[in-house]
């Protein structure tokens, strides 16, 4: 027993996996977060298998079949250029997922780094870093993203950059507030007494404590990201035609809305259900990652 444990990582991985499984089980138990999980799973599957699911090419125009109402050949009808709306929605899932994914992997680490560093060091470092986030926070995120895209030039990539630039400050704020609550804790003092460097303390002791709330916040944030991306697409500042981006689809469909309701309804429903799903998932995650719940594991 005494010398049977050679290294730690062998033990850490299963612990992480069980925690993930427990959280998923917890989420699946509540109807609201279950809905979120299902929508997210469907979104991912649809994005992966888009070529198999889509009935037609999302870009090929067929002017003879323009503006057809939903029927057996075109589940959700066709748009003004005769493109199949169902297929465009399916391919649009890829764009949506890409946006969410890229924004999240940029925003999460940046916000976490900014917030924990500012919170841990305090003093002047904190003041400078938090004034920078305040500047970003003082503009509504859609307006600021619009300004960025207008400056960088409209395209999907620039929209992603703009959204990322505008959505890290709330994460940084949150991480800082969390860090402040336990930077004075004895376990941080103990780590310092063991000779750990500030970088190591932030990474090993502080980040794990901030992670749950940051994850929750990121999940809730995804709804906003989707809406901002759709908003930029709608304004013609995001994905450019002929990309099947949901917001851009609504923007072009708007002109035919009175006669052809399906042009805006289905992309609208897609945006609604996905952003709702992320909101519900975030709420569920908040319960699942509640420290009192954690203690039961």
């Amino acid at each position: 027993m005494t010398n049977a444990h050679p290294t730690a990582p062998a033990h850490r991985t299963p612990q992480f996996l069980t925690a993930t499984r427990n959280i998923l089980v917890f989420l699946a138990r509540q109807p609201t977060s279950l809905f979120g999980l299902i929508v997210l799973a469907v979104l991912i599957l649809v994005a992966i298998f888009a070529p198999l699911i889509a009935t037609q090419d999302p870009i090929t125009q067929d002017l003879n079949n323009a503006l057809q109402s939903p029927n057996a050949a075109h589940f959700f009808g066709t748009d003004e250029l005769g493109r199949d709306i169902f297929s465009r929605l399916v391919y649009g899932a890829r764009i949506t997922l890409t946006v969410i994914f890229l924004v999240t992997i940029v925003v999460g680490p940046i916000g976490l780094l900014f917030g924990t560093v500012a919170g841990y060091f305090g003093g002047r470092v904190d003041t400078v870093m938090m004034r920078i986030t305040d500047i970003f926070l003082s503009f509504p995120s859609l307006i600021l993203s619009m300004a960025f895209v207008a400056a960088l030039g409209p395209s999907l990539n620039n929209a992603i950059i703009a959204i990322a630039l505008t959505s890290w400050p709330p994460i940084a704020r949150l991480a800082r507030a969390e860090t402040l609550t336990f930077r004075k804790a004895d376990y941080i003092a103990a780590a310092r007494l063991q000779g750990a460097s500030p970088a190591r303390i932030i990474w090993r002791s502080i980040v794990p404590m901030c992670l749950p709330s940051v994850l929750i916040r990121l999940t809730l944030n995804m709804a906003t990201v989707i809406l901002t991306a759709a908003g930029l697409g709608f304004l013609g500042l995001g994905a450019q035609p002929p990309m099947p981006e949901w917001g851009a689809m609504i923007a072009t469909g708007r002109r035919y809305m009175i006669d052809s309701w399906w042009l805006v309804t289905f992309p609208g429903l897609a945006i609604l259900s996905v952003s709702l799903a992320f909101n519900l998932l975030g709420d569920g995650l908040r319960d699942a990652l509640d420290p009192k719940q954690m203690n039961r594991r």
Binding site: M1, A185, Y187, A189, L193, Q194, A196
Partner: protein
């Protein structure tokens, strides 16, 4: 090796409030020295300054003749460790006991980790397979043993104990104190221990200082508690009150 600690003219202010006023004390090598005093008298602050957790103070602190300010971090960590008051707050809730113990070894580049961790667990009387537990899976007393193991694992010479038993209930208190006494005998530690319980001081310490409002009122030997040889009125009052309390219990 046993090392003495000497604190000379230690003064600290937080903002406009001076919390320690030129505190001086000498702890002999291998001695257990107590710090007693009312809440807020600056006992923990002495430990936090001498261990450089707080570095904005004036005065000198020397361990075995070496100024703590000038010691390289690694040397300091391997000379001086601390056990905190509240075992519920001193262990990282998301770190297993293994990673809590391993951290210090990794940071200081010490090899042979598995064997050292097992030895530290045995030293504090915990089963070695507790290494894979998380703090919430342990009782308060077991957590405090882990905190002691974490301090031991870097093989320090000097241990600061900040009310190591006050968060534990009475039967567990005795266990932990006996563990500390045994460890001191085995490893020759020098202890600087904060306590507000004179019974604990009587049990553990050779000498102790009585503190009030950031001043050391008097330094007494253990016998002063029972023989009433304290000279300062505040010390007499404190010792008298504590004896009365014990009689009442």
């Amino acid at each position: 090796m046993m090392k003495p600690l000497s604190i000379h003219n230690l003064s600290v202010s937080f903002g406009a409030v001076q919390v320690l006023h030129e505190v001086s004390l000498e702890v002999a090598a291998g001695e257990c020295f107590g710090l007693v005093g009312e809440s807020g008298s600056g006992k923990s602050t002495i430990l936090r300054c001498a261990s450089m957790l707080n570095d904005s103070w004036s005065g000198t602190v020397e361990i075995d003749g070496r100024n703590v300010r000038e010691m390289p971090v690694r040397d300091r960590c391997r000379t001086l460790q601390m056990v905190f008051q509240d075992p519920y707050g001193s262990l990282h809730p998301r770190h297993s006991i293994r990673s809590a113990l391993e951290e210090g070894l990794r940071v200081n580049g010490i090899g042979d980790r598995a064997e050292r961790m097992a030895q530290a667990m045995r030293d504090v009387g915990l089963p070695v397979d507790f290494l894979d537990r998380y703090p919430h899976q342990l009782s308060g007393g077991q957590r405090q043993r882990v905190a002691i193991a974490r301090a031991l694992i870097l093989e320090p010479d000097l241990l600061f104990l900040d009310e190591p038993t006050s968060a534990l209930d009475v039967s567990v208190q005795a266990e932990v104190l006996n563990l500390l006494v045994r460890l001191q005998k085995e490893k020759g530690f020098t202890y600087l221990m904060v306590s507000h319980d004179l019974a604990v001081v009587d049990h553990m310490c050779d000498r102790f200082a009585i503190m009030q409002h950031g001043h050391i009122v008097e330094i007494l030997s253990r016998e002063a508690i029972t023989q009433g040889t304290a000279t300062q009125p505040y010390s007499r009052e404190l010792i008298g009150a504590s004896l009365e309390y014990e009689r009442a219990v």
